[in-house]
Amino acid sequence: MELTDLYRDVILDHNRRPRNFGPLGDANALAEGFNPLCGDRLTVRLNLADDRIENIRFEGQGCAISTASASLMTEAVKGKTRGEALALFDRVHRLLTDDAAGAEDLGKLAALSGVREYPARVKCASLCWHTLASALKSPDPHALPAVSTE
């Protein structure tokens, strides 16, 4: 196991300068995620038009893996339909947990494959995706579905 395989340049860059970070004024879907193991909390806010993610931003505090994963996720799902985003979640989940899963066509998200060598860190990378899935499934911003990785 090499640490540079976990902390690849893409991950370090997205941790230092997270994209789509901050509030989203015209959000119409939202979910909060919490990882009780490390105390990470994040909020994912979406602007859904019909079935498409017009905009997405996130806020919260987390480790480098968690922050970079959320940042990469927002870039990857912006403009995608609900179904496409959930399908991408499946691909990423396999990438994080299955040694045989390939990273073809995943673009920058492929940088997350190093996480699977660190089982204790898989939840760090997947928290934002679980939160996104929750927001997509219950797009009422007042419902506040809370997601936990435990």
Partner: protein, 415 residues
């Protein structure tokens, strides 16, 4: 820190102590293990491993039941450990030593067997802000069951709990005062004697969570003046899954059993059962016999040490760690109470503790990262988590230097 006072050269032979702990010879990711997580669970010396091994090979049978040789041997080992533990903490009698799974179970036992029958709506249970979840949640459950109120005494910005602040919250309704001897998240040592005296003067029953204290301090339950004292085997170089509830005999006598089953009764009929005497009344079912045997061996190990020299060594480790870590850019120590125990919680600007934990592990260094089962402490210091290096008698200055260097490298990589 007064730099004019050079650390007294310790007569303590750390190399000899380390040879007693086989696990310290292993490597992690190709690096020598630096085990700085004894606050979560300490390692075991050969004597503890051998005592458990010998018990399993030669003496195992159920206790208090058979007339056959093995059962008598197992019973003698189990009850012998109880007697040695009673002396170790200066209990008046082995009847005051109840074996449980650990500190958590001990606190739950007191909450349910002492608190639940006696607390009334409006009564108060007093704890402090720096408690481990195991000294918060059992009381919250008790309060829900009885209508009592949980009152929390504050700590200051250094993580210190002042006796006056706790005393100010002792009211006519306070029935129980429960607090940590040493904070697991911060290392703060609480003013136990003063608090137990203040509680006693007001007729308040006291419980001390001694999980972090027993490995580091000489604990004398009579001297401390507490009613209950709880601690765990695995933090004092013994096995997991075994711990001790000390309780004053007069209180334990009055308390109903906590769990029903075998070994806690004298006679059973469908009309009525007669409970066994202390401490067996609180030990339903077959206990963790090998764990108790190992715990007895851990007590023997600790008593074989020069405790003053161990204490001095641990103080030197803490001073060295405080100096070495404070020299790392962007590092902030969380919990700076005077006279604290040998652990250091810290955060590093731009580096989440979880990333620190992974990077340090790559260098063979084991520390705890997270909320330390003390979320209210994290909220107080407005951090999601901290990194914590906790030291035991077998740690060295070299391990601490490696820790500081690795933290510096982590910051250079991540921040």
């Amino acid at each position: 820190m007064n730099t004019a006072l050079a650390p007294t050269p310790s007569a303590f032979d750390v190399a000899a102590v380390r040879r007693e702990f086989p696990i310290l010879a292993r490597t992690v990711h190709g690096k020598p293990l630096a085990y700085l997580d004894s606050g979560a669970s300490a390692q075991r010396p050969r004597s503890v491993i051998a005592a458990v091994d010998e018990y399993e090979r030669m003496h195992h049978a159920n206790i208090h039941r058979g007339v056959h040789t093995l059962s008598q041997e197992a019973t003698a080992l189990y009850e012998g450990a109880r007697e040695r533990i009673a002396r170790f903490i200066n209990a008046r009698s082995p009847r005051e030593i109840v074996f449980v799974r650990g500190t958590t179970e001990a606190i739950n036992l007191v909450a349910q067997s002492y608190g639940r029958p006696s607390l009334k709506p409006g009564d108060e249970v007093l704890i402090t802000h720096l408690e481990h979840h195991s000294n918060i949640v059992p009381w919250q459950m008790l309060c829900e069951q009885t209508g009592a109120k949980l009152v929390v005494a504050p700590m200051d910005a250094r993580g210190e709990v002042h006796a006056e602040a706790v005393e100010a919250l002792m009211s006519e309704r306070t029935r129980l005062l429960s607090f940590a001897h040493i904070s697991n998240a911060l290392g703060t040592v609480l003013p136990v004697r003063r608090l137990t005296a203040a509680a006693r003067a007001r007729g308040i029953t006291t419980l001390i969570d001694g999980a972090q204290a027993v490995p580091h301090l000489e604990v004398d339950v009579q001297g401390l003046g507490c009613d209950f004292y709880a601690f765990s085997g695995h933090k004092m170089f013994g096995p997991t899954g075994v711990g001790v509830l000390y309780g004053r005999e007069a209180l334990l006598e009055r308390m109903p059993p906590w769990q029903g089953g075998g070994d806690m009764i004298l006679t059973v009929s469908f009309g009525k059962s007669v409970y066994n005497s202390l401490p067996h009344k609180f030990e339903a079912g077959t206990p963790n016999i090998s764990g108790v045997v190992g715990l007895g061996a851990a007590v023997d190990f600790m008593q074989s040490l020069d405790r003053q020299a161990v204490h001095a060594h641990e103080r030197e480790l803490l001073e060295h760690a405080t100096d070495a870590l404070s020299a790392v850019d962007g590092l902030r120590v969380i919990g700076t109470a005077p006279g604290k125990a040998s652990l250091i919680s810290f955060v590093v600007e731009g580096v989440h503790p979880h990333d620190l934990g992974t990077i340090l592990d790559g260098d063979g260094i084991a520390i705890r990262t997270g909320h330390h089962c003390a979320m209210p402490v994290m909220d107080f210091f407005e951090v999601p988590a901290t990194a914590r290096a906790s030291f035991a008698l077998y740690n060295t200055f070299d391990e601490i230097d490696r820790l500081a260097a690795s933290v510096g490298r982590a910051r250079a990589l991540i921040a």
